[in-house]
Symmetry: C2
Subunit: 225 residues, 2 copies
């Protein structure tokens, strides 16, 4: 259940090399390169989080999630298992990926483009804040699960540890800006800050946001207060 | 072939009323309210532009486009006619709207989300600048049309007349910023400026960009140099 060490080290090594290069070349070091941790921006495609009970209802008694791909946040993974999402007009999205481990609520996170295609009118919410949001049906190989609520568009957010928060001068619940460079340069002006000692510095934006700014792995990105 | 006058007058009237209200209330008038014309931001869903010959190939000899809905730019319309777009992996998008009147090139404009779903690798281009871009097949009731090139993601852009350009201090080919407010506040940092005496002040963004910033008709928008 541990992510491969190469994945963890790569961004850290790049971060250290970048800083050393600036110093070696005698050029002013950009603020981001002085930060305690490298900034990673990842696009979250539509996905869901499920409870242990929901996994059993959809996949069968005693069934659990199987990690397929480790994510950047410690212990988080994309599961091998996926479900079919049935929207309000009986339109479906197949292969909706489940992210593990299981949580204490069921939640579906869609981009607005997904939601419009399915006929959902979804609000922008902090993950976990699902009161009053639309519900949906999920279908798995073992049966259906009716979610009374929990379909949201996740607020774009940044995960950070207290050391990162101190460096950027922000605290949990604040908003900051994410400036993305390149040909489709875009600044996301309301990036929600989430702070936890276990968090690695990582921005999560959805596919609409990622495609609007044409984010690639080498696209410049900067956090601004 | 003339747009209904009520559509033209509405934004102009709102613009004048807004300015008068600020003055009446003795409050400082925001820069946008002092502009010669109101700012309109519209989302362009995926669509295509076709030549007269392409319309005939797809719909039959002598067939022309029929206006269904007038757009904000003078003389431009969404046609009743639509085509099926066939992508590189034989995936299709049905009901791809044709915008009229006919042009001298064939061009398909997709959002990156559309392009990824179809398997296209498309560049960001100014409308009309299609050399070296991917091609596609279009299907209409009368037959197929093979486009050797012309599938693009349109660069987000603003149409303006010379008077607007003078007010904002920009010229054709410049980039400016579009700041969108609200819960998903976003600033598009590379908005291409297009100037023509016939243009009405209007920003065109695609569905990814529009959904990323959750644009609604009442979402605040501002042009910045």
């Amino acid at each position: 259940m541990i992510p491969p060490p190469s994945l963890i080290q790569r961004t850290q090594v790049e971060h250290l090399v970048r800083r050393a290069l600036y110093e070696r070349l005698g050029r002013p070091v950009p603020r981001g390169a002085l930060a305690p941790n490298p900034l990673v921006v990842n696009v979250s495609a539509r996905h869901c989080h499920l409870t242990v009970q929901a996994v059993e209802a959809l996949f069968g008694k005693g069934r659990t999630l199987t990690p397929m791909k480790w994510l950047y946040q410690k212990g988080q993974y994309a599961a091998q298992e996926s479900v079919t999402l049935i929207g309000p007009r009986s339109r479906v999205i197949s292969n909706l990926r489940i992210l593990g481990p299981c949580r204490d609520i069921n939640q579906v996170e869609l981009a607005l483009t997904d939601a419009i295609a399915l006929g959902f009118d979804i609000p922008v919410r902090l993950s976990g804040s699902i009161a009053g949001t639309p519900g949906c049906m999920l279908m798995g190989p073992n049966g259906f699960l009716e979610m009374k609520e929990g379909v949201i568009r996740a607020s774009p957010h940044v995960h950070m540890c207290p050391e990162d928060a101190a460096f950027y001068g922000v605290k949990k619940g604040d908003f900051m800006k994410l400036r993305i460079g390149g040909q489709c340069a875009t600044t996301f002006d309301r990036l929600l800050v989430r702070v936890d000692p276990d968090f690695r510095l990582e921005v999560h934006i959805d596919t609409d946001e990622g495609n609007a700014c044409a984010l690639q792995s080498d696209t410049p990105a900067e956090l601004l207060k």
